[in-house]
Amino acid sequence: MRRTLYDKLVDAHQVCDLPDGDMLIYVDFHIMNEYTSPQAFSGLDTKALSVWRPEAHLAVVDHVNATRSDEPHDAASKLLIDNLEDNCTKHDIAFYGLGDPRQGIEHVVVPEQGLVTPGMLIACGDSHTTTYGAYGALGFGIGTSEVEHVLATQTLRYKRMKTMRVMIDGETAPGVTAKDIIMKVVQVVGAGGANGFAVEFAGSAIQSLDMAGRMTVCNMAVELGARAALIAVDEVTEAALQGHAHSGQFAFEGENWMSDPEAVFDKEVTIAGSDIEPLITWGTSPDQSVPITANVPVASDYVSPKAKAALDRSLKYMGLTEGQSAQSIKIDTAFIGSCTNSRIEDLREAAKILEGRRVAVGIEAIVVPGSAMTRIKAEAEGLRAIFEAAGFEWRPEAGCSMCLAMNDDIAMDGERVASSTNRNFEGRQGRGARTHLMSPAMVAAAAVAGHLADVRGFT
């Protein structure tokens, strides 16, 4: 029987079949944050249940905390942070809180701590848990009721998904990053195109990415609807497993954690690496993107009245006119951060563009390193000095910050942000805020130019 990597992972974690057609799958490792877990813990209390296996969970503060200091910025966020710490103390769960040298964005912290390894099944109350597919691990986001379920049973009720392979072969051009690759996939497959699918990324353009790039790709797979994203294990993966706090503690042997050569996928998508350019989003869905050298669409590009209406709505929200060139879009703010693009590799890419340059007059530019460890490493490498010399504000604490504006980093109504994040939804970065997604290097280029700009002109 030839199996896909996804099927091998599900098979290895199946506990039993359930009478209604679902199965129980075993969760090796579960991560929690302060905003999707409180009601799960209170659910345990209501039912008088205990945590099945406390050592298999990690709680990290990242969504609501301020990144200007290690003190909560208001009483409401303090309540959430304290609540998580109290719950972890009560149930004997590892807690990496504010001020802890291991704290940071959960999906940056976990690989940094060596807590992900091929063959593992990881759940977390956060949609970007698909990130761990970069390691050949099955990671997926869950809701709060499911967080309670994992805490109490170490399992989830699960229904096997269909499989899709996205093959990206060929070399990508200079200036094209992992972010552009996944933004291209979202554009081609569509924002809901992979609903019901587990997606495996393959091909030479994927294999040639480093782990940070692979994580960026798998992270944003949820923006095409994929509930799981996977990349086969190779020597790049193996090399990344060494040298972390938990390295050597876990291994999931027994499978090779790659799809068998003749495994059949339910759907195949092929994209030529050479077709990918640096992209920016112009609209309010991550699939609404164009190359930086192109123009915002015009109504006549679309046939159906529904599509024309959607274009109109997006343009109106974004304050753009149809057909205007991408590079004519002036920005107010530049933000580098998030679980998609705040790793040391991302900061290096942006710093390359910023070295010897200055942020344009009137632009607010912020960089929030993904974790305390990332920040310290970046400072030691001299990256902080480059960002600050260029006029970026270097945040001393780690967190999601302006990616979803749950802390005090909230963009104003109409404020236009060049952002290295993952979602350009209406109101995502603040009520009425206008988000343009792009790679960290492209954010740096936009900050310097004062408008969206082609990173290839900044060498």
């Binding site: 506990v15 039993c16 359930l18 209604d20 129980l24 075993y26 090796d28 490792f29 999707t36 409180p38 009601q39 209170s42 659910g43 039912k47 249940l49 050592e55 298999a56 969970h57 990690l58 609501v64 409401a76 309540l79 590892a94 701590q113 807590l115 593992m120 109350g125 956060d126 869950i142 809701g143 009721s145 499911e146 109490a152 049973t153 170490q154 399992t155 009720r157 229904k159 569509g190 924002a191 809901g192 609903n195 019901g196 609807g225 509930r227 503690q249 876990f250 291994a251 999931f252 042997e253 529904k306 959607a310 979803l404 504006a405 749950m406 109504d413 979602r423 939804f425 209406e426 109101g427």
Partner: protein, 204 residues
């Protein structure tokens, strides 16, 4: 929940919400998420669509217009519920009185969250959806028969898709956590088969 009453049919006024890719940030904006309870989320639901910056109702939004102010069903665009995993979106919709959301496709996490909270998500073809959008726009009531997996309104009668486990959960009501603990022996057996390197233990 086990004490929830059995629901086999959902009937009521349906509001058309044809936008594609309505995400959970739009369903429940982040300023309503700073909470440790499940309660008090009705006002936050679709807040930026329902209310203007001053907090007044936007008269042009469908749920602010008669008869849809009393809608308990939504007919929605493709890929509804995409984005963030926040279950607050579903809690809020339930607290606003929404019992069902009919559409062509839903994001996976949203779909699972809905099932946990008794929100029915019948899946239909794009053609049926367009007919239902029209019917809903006329204020016609829709009836959803969960047992027979069939929708009716006026002279439209169409089947819908819903997986067996979700159908059972909606009709019988269920407490997944407690039900799963009935399989505790199977979980222990599985764990007994794991070697020590497969037992994650996080450094404190």
């Amino acid at each position: 929940m086990k004490d929830q009453k059995m629901i086999k049919t959902i009937k009521g006024v349906a509001a058309p919400l044809p936008l594609a890719n309505v995400d959970t940030d739009v369903i429940m904006p982040k300023r309503f998420l700073i909470t440790i309870t499940r309660e008090g989320l009705a006002d936050g639901t679709f807040a930026d669509l329902r209310f203007d910056n001053a907090g007044g109702p936007r008269p042009e939004f469908i749920l602010n217009k008669t008869p849809w102010t009393k809608a308990n069903i939504l007919v929605v665009g493709d890929n509804f519920g995409c984005g963030s995993s926040r279950e607050h979106a579903v809690w809020g919709m339930r607290q606003l009185g929404i019992d069902a959301c009919i559409g062509t496709s839903f994001a996976g996490i949203f779909y699972d969250n809905a099932r946990k909270n008794g929100l029915a998500l019948p899946i239909i073809s794009p053609e049926t959806r367009d007919l239902l959008l029209q019917a809903a726009g006329n204020g016609t009531e829709i009836t959803i028969d969960l047992n027979g997996r069939r929708l009716t309104t006026g002279n439209i009668s169409a089947p819908f898709e819903m997986d067996d486990a979700t159908q059972t959960a909606l009709i019988q009501g269920r407490n997944d956590t407690l039900d799963t603990l009935e399989h505790a022996d199977a979980i222990r057996d599985y764990e007994a088969g794991l070697n020590s390197e497969m037992r994650v233990s996080v450094n404190k």
